[in-house]
């Protein structure tokens, strides 16, 4: 289902991934697959469509204890994957995307806890998505792939945990769209979630966030190679997808981060070129990020996943005007974290969430971390973030014992 080439490319998940300077690592990890919803028992999606069979790619780290009560579920963001930490092989250039957080003695301590991370439904890193083979035609789904919601992603993760025999989750965490899945879990399967750490996220995707996603999608759709999603036999819409990634990267940083990282510095030249080849370092950086991204990501997956994020609204899940009582059934202990320079999911959105939780009488902690790197701050090595997560999870674990 997934080629060795894609494996090697997943190593370049993010510009931030580096070998952990502490030298501590969870070591070798293996990507595994779980397939369910075989026809005629297909998965019924929020849209009413049926999908099956469904494969979910996942990785686990640490050891599941006898009571199966040391499980931590990590949910990845838009372009992430199941490879949260460690290495597939000794020759890997880079570890998983959150290696600074997940490992022995780290914020999420794999010496104590059993960590599970899976690729989202409609992704392209091993889980079923638009690039997967449609059993009805024998060809890739393309636009025949049904629209998937955050709730559907969570439903597929629940099927995986059922398969692993896990009934209770000690804690779950994720940033950005991973945080949306965390929140969705807490309302969809409240009895399973003991505690939750939504990071740099929101209860409902804002107009600003939808706007950026739509511009990114239109860049893909406008690429002639996109061909209404049917491009798997020919040239891929790489121009559109790389522009989409460039837009994304701007939203993940911040005014200050861009100023500090690039300023108005020129790339490989001393004066203006007076043409469109790209003068500034920031232009060169974005082009590089775009070019790298198309090697590892499927354009149709990008369209589907961004749409799922845009549909996300815990307050009005059906998209109609009828509001629901958010967190009415939730019973988890929460630690909500936002970052000062995040303009994609600003602190006020985290506070809105905390406010609802307080009114519900839920046990909620909230911390706004001073960070200059914008939305991406949650992925970067951050001692404060690691200590918060460690302290919180440990206290939930101790209280349970």
């Amino acid at each position: 289902m997934i080629s060795p080439l894609v494996y090697s490319i997943t190593k370049f998940m993010s510009e931030y991934i580096t070998h952990d300077r502490t030298g501590r690592s969870v070591g070798r990890v293996e990507k595994k697959y779980f397939t369910f919803a075989e026809p005629p028992e297909e998965m019924v999606l929020d849209s009413g469509c049926r999908l099956g069979p469904v494969t979910i790619a996942y990785e686990t780290m640490g050891t599941l204890n006898a009571d199966k009560n040391n499980v931590i579920l990590v949910l990845h963001a838009l372009t992430g994957d199941s490879h949260v930490a460690g290495y597939y092989s000794e020759t890997d250039d880079k570890p998983g995307w959150w290696d600074n957080m997940v490992g022995p003695g780290k914020g999420i301590d794999t010496d104590k806890y059993f960590v599970v991370c899976s690729n989202v439904l409609s992704g392209c890193m091993g889980s079923t998505g638009p690039a997967s083979t449609n059993p009805a035609t024998g060809k890739p789904y393309g636009l025949k792939f049904p629209m998937v919601t955050i709730g559907d992603m969570v439903r597929a993760q629940k099927a995986l945990l059922d398969h692993l025999g896990i009934k209770r989750i000690l804690s779950m965490t994720g940033g950005s769209m991973g945080g949306m899945q965390v929140l969705q879990w807490c309302v969809q399967y409240p009895e399973m979630v003991l505690s939750a750490i939504p990071l740099a996220t929101t209860m409902r995707h804002s107009a600003l966030a939808i706007a950026f996603n739509e511009v990114a999608r239109q860049a893909i759709i406008a690429d002639p190679n996109w061909n209404r999603g049917d491009y798997y036999d020919g040239p891929k819409p790489n121009v559109g997808l790389s522009v989409a990634r460039m837009i994304g990267h701007v939203t993940y940083l911040s005014d200050e981060a861009l100023r500090q990282k690039f300023g108005r510095r020129l790339q490989d030249r001393d004066s203006f070129s007076f043409n469109f080849d790209g003068d500034f370092q920031v232009e060169s950086y974005l082009r590089h990020q775009g070019a790298k991204f198309v090697e590892r990501f499927d354009a149709n997956s990008f369209l589907y996943i961004t749409k799922a994020a845009d549909y996300f609204d815990l307050t009005q899940p059906s998209g109609q005007s009828s509001a629901v009582d958010v967190f009415l059934k939730a019973s988890a202990r929460f630690l909500v974290i936002s970052f000062t320079s995040d303009w994609l999911y600003p602190t006020y959105q985290a506070r809105d969430m905390v406010k609802v939780m307080k009114k519900r009488g839920l046990d909620v902690s909230f911390c706004e971390i001073e960070a200059e790197w914008g939305h991406d701050a949650f992925l970067l090595p951050n001692k404060r973030l690691a200590n918060l997560i460690r302290g919180f999870i440990d206290s939930v674990y101790e209280r349970m014992e």
Binding site: R333, K359, F366, C367
Partner: protein, 210 residues
Amino acid sequence: MNGWNSNSVRYDLQIIASWIKPGSKVIGLGCGEGELLYYLKHHKQVAETGVEILESRVAECINKGLTVIQGDINEEIKDYANDAFDYVVLSQTLQQVYDPLALIRSMLRIGRKVIVSFPNFGHWYVRLQLLLTGHAPITPQLPYQWYETPNIRVLSIKDFRSFAREMGFRILKEATINTDREDKTGSYVAFMPNLRATYGIYLISRLTSA
């Protein structure tokens, strides 16, 4: 790392803790690094919540396993339901609040009982300094110059008693205490407390509550 015991908790906090029934729900406003809440959680099995504005202190609290929200106490208090807590604690922060009456009314709304403590500005050492030197007083309890002090509301034990009477809330308990320089040990002051006590600690409630 969190090896506190009853002897190492500040003297005024020991008195506050002694007023709180085991197993109750407590919110600490301006909870700092959570010394009192940690003690209450581990010695009195309370369900704790703290509100603190400084990120570093909030982080310290969460690292200790406490439930704490980063924010302004005047704003955060608005979200809680009536009677959401058994006790609402405002320890040595009243003198730093811009609108103490509004805050106390909010505290009495979200909690059945409210505990408030503050440094006593009526203490003889404070009076003497102003009288003899003509400078704004600086004491171990009020250690700041006038231009850098967070203590914008200076009040005495007498002031708080009349404040309670005029604003209509009931004083259930009063502890007027004198502490050592580090606040580790101390004693009750029964005779002329407004002159001799360094701190006042009050357990108050609404007039209508039982």
